[in-house]
C-alpha cells in the first residue's frame, strides 16, 4: 500500500530496546504517511517514541519490524549516509574542529562536487540563514541561536528530500524560539522540502505544522491538522496534552450525562447508560450565563485580566477547579469579583466526551 505521493512512508514499524523480559517497546506498530513538502510534527511527552521514530527514519536505529520508504524507495536497510535525509540535532552537533563554512560544506564534499560548486552552495546555504558573515568562525564562538542557524544551513546545503528536526528549538530562550519558529516556516517554504519536526511543545506544534501526530506510549493517538487536534481531540490524553482544557468526570444516565459536580449535560454522545465518561471543554468555549437550564453554579477563586480576555479560575460544587476564558467582558461590565458566585453554561457543540 505504497502511496506514490508520500515523501515518507512508515509502515507498521515496531522497535524495542533491550532484550527478553526487560525489553521496552518504544514503538508499537506505527504507521504514517508524510506528504511531499509537508511540515509534519511528531508531538508527545518525553518517552513517547517520537525521537526514536525520527532516528529510525534517519537510520541511526534499526527497526525490529515494518518498513520505511522515502520517495517510494525502501530505506530501512540502508545506513544513514545512503539515505536522502538530513538531520538537525537537538544539540546541533556542529563539528567543533571545523569552521562554520567547513561544517556547511561537509556534506557537499561527500557528494564529490567540484571545489567551486562546494564553495558556492555552502555560501548560498549560509546566506539563506543569514550567517554568511560568520563563515570563518568556529562553532564555539557562536551564540545558541547562531549555532542553530548553522546547523540548519548544514543540513539544508545538500538539498535533502526530507529534513528531520529533533527538538531543534528546545535549547533556545523563549524570544529566540518564537523568532526561529517563523524563520523555520519561511525556510521550509523557500527550500520546498518536507520537514519532519519532533517536539514536546504543543504550542510550537500548533503554530508550525501542517499536520501533527500526537504520540503516547509508542503509538500515534491522533494524526490530523492542528485545528482538528485542538478542536476535536480523539482521546482524553490528546485533549489534556494540547492546550488548556477542563475535564469533568461523570456518568451516563439515560439520555444525559450526570456530572460529579452536580450539573448535567443533555445527550449521551454515543456512550451507553451507566458508563463512566469524561466531558472535556476548552476554557474559551465555556460561557458565563444567567442561572437556569443547562448551567451550574461556581465560585470565583481568581480572576486574571489578560487584555484580550479574562481568565477565571472557578471552583465547582465538588471542589474541582474549572478554567473559563471570557472574552465578552468589557464594554462597561466589570468581571466577576473573587468570591462571587457565577453560573457556567456548557454549549453542547463545544463538548468532547471520552470514555473514562
Amino acid at each position: 500500500m505504497t502511496n506514490p505521493q508520500s515523501a515518507i512512508s512508515v509502515q507498521s514499524v515496531s522497535k524495542s530496546f533491550g532484550r527478553g523480559d526487560s525489553a521496552i517497546k518504544v514503538l508499537q506498530d506505527v504507521a504514517v504517511e508524510i506528504g511531499t513538502r509537508e511540515f509534519f510534527t511528531l508531538l508527545g511527552p518525553s518517552g513517547c517514541g517520537k525521537t526514536t521514530l525520527l532516528r529510525l527514519i534517519a537510520g541511526f536505529e534499526e527497526l525490529d519490524s515494518g518498513s520505511i520508504l522515502i520517495d517510494g524507495e525502501r530505506v530501512d536497510h540502508l545506513p544513514p549516509f545512503r539515505r536522502p535525509v538530513n538531520t538537525v540535532f537537538q544539540n546541533y552537533a556542529l563539528f567543533p574542529h571545523l569552521s562554520v563554512a567547513q561544517n556547511v560544506a561537509f556534506a557537499l564534499e561527500m557528494q564529490s562536487l567540484s571545489r567551486a560548486e562546494v564553495i558556492r552552495r555552502a555560501g548560498e546555504a549560509l546566506e539563506m540563514v543569514r550567517m554568511a558573515a560568520f563563515a570563518n568562525r568556529k562553532p564555539s564562538e557562536l551564540s545558541g541561536g547562531q549555532q542553530q542557524r548553522v546547523a540548519l544551513a548544514r543540513a539544508l546545503a545538500p538539498r535533502p528530500k526530507v529534513l528531520l528536526l529533533d527538538e531543534p528549538l528546545s535549547a533556545l530562550d523563549l524570544k529566540l524560539r518564537k523568532q526561529m519558529q517563523i524563520e523555520l516556516k519561511q525556510l521550509q517554504a523557500e527550500a520546498g522540502i518536507t520537514f519532519v519536526f519532533v517536539t514536546h511543545d504543543q504550542e510550537e506544534a500548533l503554530t508550525l505544522s501542517d499536520r501533527i501526530a500526537v504520540m503516547q506510549g509508542g503509538r500515534i493517538l491522533q494524526l490530523d491538522t492542528p485545528r482538528a487536534i485542538y478542536e476535536r481531540p480523539s482521546h482524553r490524553f490528546v485533549a489534556d496534552f494540547i492546550g488548556d482544557i477542563n475535564l469533568l468526570e461523570g456518568k451516563v444516565d439515560g439520555g444525559a450525562i450526570q456530572l460529579d459536580c452536580g450539573a448535567s449535560v443533555a445527550g449521551n454522545f454515543g456512550h451507553a447508560p451507566g458508563d463512566r465518561v469524561t466531558v472535556a471543554i476548552r476554557p474559551e468555549r465555556a460561557r458565563l450565563a444567567k442561572s437556569g437550564e443547562g448551567s451550574f453554579a461556581a465560585e470565583v477563586m481568581h480572576s486574571a485580566y489578560l487584555g484580550t480576555a479574562t481568565l477565571l479560575q472557578l471552583r465547582l460544587a465538588d471542589g474541582r477547579e474549572f478554567l473559563l476564558r471570557e472574552t465578552r467582558i468589557g464594554e462597561g461590565a466589570a468581571p466577576p469579583e473573587k468570591g462571587s458566585r457565577v453560573s457556567v453554561h456548557l454549549p453542547d457543540s463545544a463538548l468532547q466526551v471520552f470514555a473514562a
Binding site: 534517519a58 537510520g59 541511526f60 544513514p80 538530513n86 544539540n91 556542529l94 556534506a107 545538500p158
Partner: protein, 257 residues
Amino acid sequence: MNLRRLPFTREISLGVLVYLYVPVMVLIFYSFNANRTATVWSEASLDWYRKILVNPSIRDATWNSLVLATAAGLGSTLLALAAALGTKNRFRGLAVVEAILNAPLILPEVVVAVATLMLFVAIGIDMGLTAMIPAHIAFCIPFAYLPIRARLEGMNPSLEEAAQDLYANRFVTFRRVTLPLMWPGIMAGFTLAFVTSLDDFLTSFFLSGPGSTTLPVYIFSAIRAGITPEINAISTIMLIVSVALVVTSFLLGKIRR
C-alpha cells in the same frame, strides 16, 4: 568554607613542595659543579655536559632509549586507540576488560619483568631491543589508553551520527570527525607512554642485551662505580626532555580544543 583560611595551609603546601622538588633541584644544581666529587661544590662549569656529549656509551644509550621509547609509544598508542574505540559502547564485561587493560598500573613490575624474561628465554628470543620493545609496549598501554579513553568519553556521540547523516561513510567519519576530535587525547597518550618507557629501568634491566643499554640502565651501572656529576648532567637532560614533552603535548591539546 574557604580552604585558604585553614591554619597552616600555606606552610604545609610549602613543605610538600620542598619535599617533592628539593632532591631534583640539588641534582640539577650539582650537575653544574666542576668538582669531581658530586656532593662537594667548588665552582660552576659545563664540563660534565661537554663530557657526556662525547661519551660514546652515553650516546649509544641515549639512542637506544629514544628508539625504544618511540617504538613503545607508537605501539602502545595504536593498541590503546584500538582498545578505546573497541570499548566505546557499553557492553557486559566492560569493567573486566578495562581492569585487564589497566592491570600493568598495579601489577608489580618486577614480577612482570621476570615473567617476561622467562618467557623470552623459553621461546628463544634474544635479549636486547627486540625483547624490550614488545615488553615496553605492553606496560605502556594503560598510560596511552587512559587519556584517549577520557577524550572519547567526553565526545558528543551525535557528532559521529551527524557525519554519517551528512553522507560520510564509516571510514570517512572516522578520518574526518572521530580522529581529529580524539587527536589531543592521542597526543597525550603517546607522550605519557613515551615518557614512561624513557624512564623505565626494571623491565629494560632484565631484558637488555649487549649493545642495547638504555639511559636508566647505564645510569644504574655507572652509579655503582660512584656518583659522579656526569650522572647529574644526564639526569638533568632526561628530566628536561620529559618535562618539555609533557608540557608541549599539553599546550598542543589546549590549542586544538
